[in-house]
């Protein structure tokens, strides 16, 4: 299965191309400019792979959490390609990717996954490495998060283990996870929205 994956959840954009036997990963310093270079990134990845869009069997995007603007650019681009190009598309969230990474590292049992946000809080997810299941993310104050088997994703937090989701785990996940194929299913591939916007928070605070 040949796939192209785009992760725009951070300032830099991570791309991965893979097939049944191998994969490669590349990081693009897109900063806040992904909107201008998303098609060039796809061209570069496919050129490097010696492949073409027509030869792809699957598209995949990271659904976050992360930079909402980046996630939306990737989602708008890949969902449209999935629809008009008649390709299945899958959404991979960072918690499931992290959990798969832990499994490939030989970890077992229950863990806590922490992903800091730009505000003073962090997403916290309880997960089971053996069953590869995650509960829904919750927002908690960063300083309140401690405990054994607690992993800070892509960052160093005092007292916590660092975990960087790995390309191998992503490769396994994309191959094993079902993808959206029908129109309705494609519409369901969206960024994770856990934090309400500032205006929504203000509205909720009003009596």
């Amino acid at each position: 299965m040949r796939y192209l994956f785009l992760d725009a959840s951070e300032n830099a954009t991570n791309c991965q191309y893979g097939d049944e036997s191998s994969f490669f990963n590349q990081r693009f310093d897109t900063d806040r400019n992904l909107g201008a270079c998303v098609s060039r990134i796809c061209d570069e990845m496919l050129n490097q792979a010696g492949s073409s869009f027509a030869e792809l069997d699957r598209l995949s995007i990271c659904t976050g959490p992360g930079s909402l603007t980046g996630l939306r650019i990737a989602a708008a681009f890949f969902r449209t390609l999935a629809l008009i190009g008649d390709k299945p598309v899958s959404g991979i969230d960072i918690f499931k990717w992290s959990l798969k990474t832990l499994q490939l590292q030989g970890k077992k049992g229950k863990v806590m996954l922490i992903l800091p946000t730009l505000i003073d809080k962090a997403f916290v997810v309880e997960a089971d490495v053996d069953a590869q299941t995650c509960q829904s993310p919750e927002l908690q104050t960063r300083t309140a998060i401690t405990g054994p088997n607690t992993y800070a994703i892509r960052c160093d937090l005092p007292g916590l283990l660092r975990l960087d989701p790995e390309p191998e785990a992503l490769h396994e996940l994309i191959k094993s996870q079902p993808a959206a194929e029908t129109f309705e299913e494609i519409l369901g591939v969206l960024p994770m929205y856990v934090i309400p916007s500032q205006a929504e928070r203000k509205l909720e605070e009003k009596p």
């Binding site: 603007t69 708008a76 681009f77 449209t80 008009i84 519409l187 916007s197 205006a199 509205l203």
Partner: protein, 336 residues
């Protein structure tokens, strides 16, 4: 030639198919007004989410309504600015995916310029130059002399609030609802436009507009009149003040430029008082007035497709590398 247009600069997601820039084959709009009403204005983050949800169903329905396939499209035109960045990026990224997949050209379109083309599209005509254009909306009050495709002499613009913004703010202050323009028009329908004396901002000061003072003047009247306030008269007086401000400056421009064609465009161009007063002004100067139909006044992709068609020859060669921009002066090259 069939152009597919995409518009997502604010709170309307829209996709349209236009033939040769003058005939609308299909045009669909998904409005977010109800979603933003509870906030009293457009929330960019919420708008971006809704654009992403709405855009693919609109694309499918628009093609379906026209009985066309994506391979039947000759070019894609999308709003690249000015507007809210998050919403713009959803539309532009969708357009890029279409262009990248089909290999068809992508034309980045200036949203404000496209509003002017909407009036010609409503008449089924190609833009004819020169013309005087007044673009009035929630974010803009621009008076321009259009001399050719993407060639504008900006005569004047607002220093602060735009007229649509003024209507929104006043309607919110009066607790009338959102969006303000249609509510103020309806409330003021049978009101006396001369009951309350409101200033004519920047009267006699060239082509510069300013509307924040009008908002303050309305608030003073509300505070002063208290229970005696006559809401229909106040709304009628406000519309009269706004409209007469434009009449003075557009009249001056018609005289100075000797333009014989006047275009009224933008969301506030739907205002009945302004339409009537502009018609009278055009008649006085023996100028032709072109007004967009009401559904072409508000944000729509048909005007984007039409403007894209008429300006495709001026589009940058590397249009897939164009990014969305919050600010983009009319006629200026796309800065990417």
């Amino acid at each position: 030639m069939i152009t597919l247009g995409i518009e997502s600069s604010c709170d309307d997601t829209s996709i349209a198919l236009v033939e040769n820039g003058t005939r609308v084959i299909s045009s669909l709009v998904s409005s977010q007004i109800e979603i933003h009403r509870r906030f009293g204005g457009v929330v960019p983050e919420v708008a971006s989410r809704k654009h992403l949800e709405a855009i693919l169903p609109l694309l499918r329905d628009c093609l379906g309504e026209a009985g066309l396939k994506i391979s039947d499209i000759d070019q894609i035109a999308a709003t690249a600015g000015p507007g809210l960045l998050g919403p713009l990026l959803v539309g532009l990224s969708t357009a890029k995916a279409l262009a990248w997949y089909t290999g068809k050209p992508l034309v980045p379109v200036n949203h404000i310029e496209a509003h002017l083309t909407a009036s010609f599209l409503a008449a089924g005509r190609a833009p004819e130059y020169p013309f005087l254009g007044l673009i009035v909306s929630g974010g803009h009050a621009n008076l321009v002399l259009a001399e050719g495709p993407r060639q504008y002499q900006v005569l004047g613009q607002t220093l602060d609030d735009a007229p649509g913004e003024l209507f929104d703010k006043v309607a919110r202050h009066l607790q009338l609802g959102y969006p303000g323009g249609p509510i103020i028009q309806k409330t003021g329908e049978n009101g006396d436009p001369k009951r309350y004396q409101l200033p004519r901002p920047m009267a006699g000061k060239g082509y510069v507009f300013s509307f924040s003072g009008l908002k303050t003047a309305v608030m003073r009247i509300v505070a002063h009149e208290k229970d005696e306030l006559n809401l229909p008269d106040l709304c009628a007086s406000l519309q009269h003040a706004v409209s007469q401000t434009f009449v003075e400056k557009v009249g001056m421009a018609l005289k100075e430029t000797r333009a014989r064609r006047l275009i009224l465009a933008g969301g506030v161009a739907a205002n009945a008082v302004l339409r009537r007063d502009m018609q009278q002004l055009a008649d006085r100067y023996h100028a032709e007035l072109l007004l967009p139909t009401l559904h072409l006044c508000t944000d729509n992709a048909a005007m984007i497709a039409a403007h894209g068609y008429f300006t495709a020859h001026l589009a940058p060669a590397e249009s897939l590398a164009v990014n969305a921009v919050a600010s983009w002066d009319m006629g200026a090259p796309h800065n990417f």
